[in-house]
Amino acid sequence: MSAPDFYFALNAIFRHIHDRYGKESLVAYWRALGREYYRRRIERWRGAPLQVLAADWREYLAAEPQAEVEVAVVHDGVELDVKVCPAIKHLRDQGRDIVPYFCEHCDHVGGAMAEAAGYVFQRQGGSGSCRQRFLRPSARLKEAS
């Protein structure tokens, strides 16, 4: 069941937690969600070839209405080239007031999942299109050096 109006709830829940309990609580919520709710996906990723992680994201994103995302295995990681973020697109199309920190949920949900599975998460861009990477730590070290 992929009903895009669920994105309204996502945006509203983020705002509610942020406004009532503060940004730190929102980040804690995102990270716990990644670690706990997506435990089974994390288990599939951990120690598996990068193709498994890429296939998991392809399958996930294929079920998201209006998503335009290319998933590729790159050197020591998996890259999600998000040309059209389905959530941002639907929220914008429906005239919803998008919380300014909406994109950060990917950093923390994805980041917590990545860390638990032995990866490092990176995001460049946002507000409707971005590039997300799940990198093996060795790749991050090479980049740094």
């Binding site: 895009p4 709830a9 509610h16 716990a32 969600l33 709710y37 999600l80 998000v82």
Partner: protein, 331 residues
């Protein structure tokens, strides 16, 4: 990236996160303020624009998008908007994926709907849900009288309606789950009230020797057992205080026979775990009251965390967890 395909799964998880982080009232605030007050504002706008007809149009649109197997009936002459849900896709997602992070997922529906409707002059006349994906409800504009509406699609005629336990709402308010025990709609309160007077709990499980367990039933203690043992008077020679039913359809007839043959004041409280991957059992046709669920209390006390596809405690272990949740010693 959080998608909408598995939204219901992490929606359920979010309710539990909010409860465990900020308490029971916090999750009701989330439903009323975030969901009713913001996410579902298109319902409020539809109602403000066209009353019950606006709500009807909005809900039928949602039903198509979410693949709801339901019937919405609008009778403006009677001032009634009614829904009969045959299979809720949202609860269905949890059942299909063996998910239950929170105490009671179904609560969220009235949790956002009633505050939203109240704000636009609409009253929830009646509502019931059985926690298995079936529910019904009626609404009216508060500004004029209403008349009852009978519909062919009444979900209560469906055999599935007899499964699960019922939460009821009347005039915007939740009703007692078991009025004879507690005025609360919360199963945790019902369990606390039922066992309030007990100083301790004696558990008669398959491993217990019946006479020994009964001997240890010191005054003031309550006896708990499981359906299979209760059904056999030799294994459970005295009337227990509560009986936890398992997933076996075959045991319902024996349990019902003893229950019906027992004087009303000595009948046990019938309990069930209602685990999401368990079979849908028809307690009503078997001649039993709908059981009180124990999982909400175990989850609230942090004594049970459902792992999809993972092992689950057996009935005796669940009774021991219940005793711990009720903070009653086991002599």
């Amino acid at each position: 990236m959080l998608g909408c395909q598995d939204f219901c799964g992490y929606y359920d998880w979010t309710f539990h996160f909010v409860r465990r982080s900020w308490g029971q009232q916090a999750v009701r605030q989330l439903w009323a303020e975030a969901i009713g007050g913001e996410a579902q504002q298109h319902y409020a706008q539809s109602a403000s624009r066209a009353g019950l007809r606006g709500l009807y149009q909005q809900w039928t649109k949602t039903g198509v998008e979410e693949s709801c197997d339901w019937t919405f009936t609008l009778d403006e002459a009677r001032n009634v908007l009614r829904f009969d849900m045959r299979q809720c896709p949202s609860k269905g997602f949890l059942l299909a994926n063996d998910l239950q992070a929170d105490e009671d997922y179904c609560d969220h529906c009235m949790g956002w709907t009633v505050p939203l409707l109240s704000g636009v002059g609409v009253e929830l006349i009646e509502h019931e849900h059985n926690h298995c994906g079936q529910c019904w409800g009626t609404m009216r504009g508060k500004d004029r009288p209403t008349q009852p509406l009978e519909v062919e699609a009444d979900i209560r005629r469906d055999g599935r309606w007899n499964c699960g336990f019922l939460h009821r709402w009347r005039s915007d308010r939740p009703q007692p789950l078991l009025r004879s025990v507690s005025p609360s709609s919360d199963p945790c309160d019902v369990l606390a009230a039922w066992f309030e007077a007990a100083n301790g709990l004696v558990i008669l499980g398959p491993e217990s020797a019946a006479p020994e367990a009964c001997r240890s039933l010191v005054p003031g203690c309550a006896l708990l057992t499981i359906g299979k043992i209760y059904a056999d008077g030799r294994q459970c020679p005295i009337d227990p205080s509560a009986v936890l039913l398992g997933d076996e359809r075959d045991e319902l007839a024996g349990v019902a026979a003893r229950f019906q043959a027992t004087a009303a004041e000595r009948r046990p409280l019938i309990l069930h775990h209602f685990l999401p991957r368990g079979p849908m059992l028809d307690f009503v046709s078997a001649g039993l009251p709908r059981p009180v669920p124990i999982l909400p209390l175990l989850i609230r006390r942090g004594l049970y965390r459902h792992q999809p596809g993972g092992p689950t405690p057996d009935l005796t272990e669940l009774l021991m967890l219940l005793a711990a949740a009720l903070q009653k010693p086991i002599p």
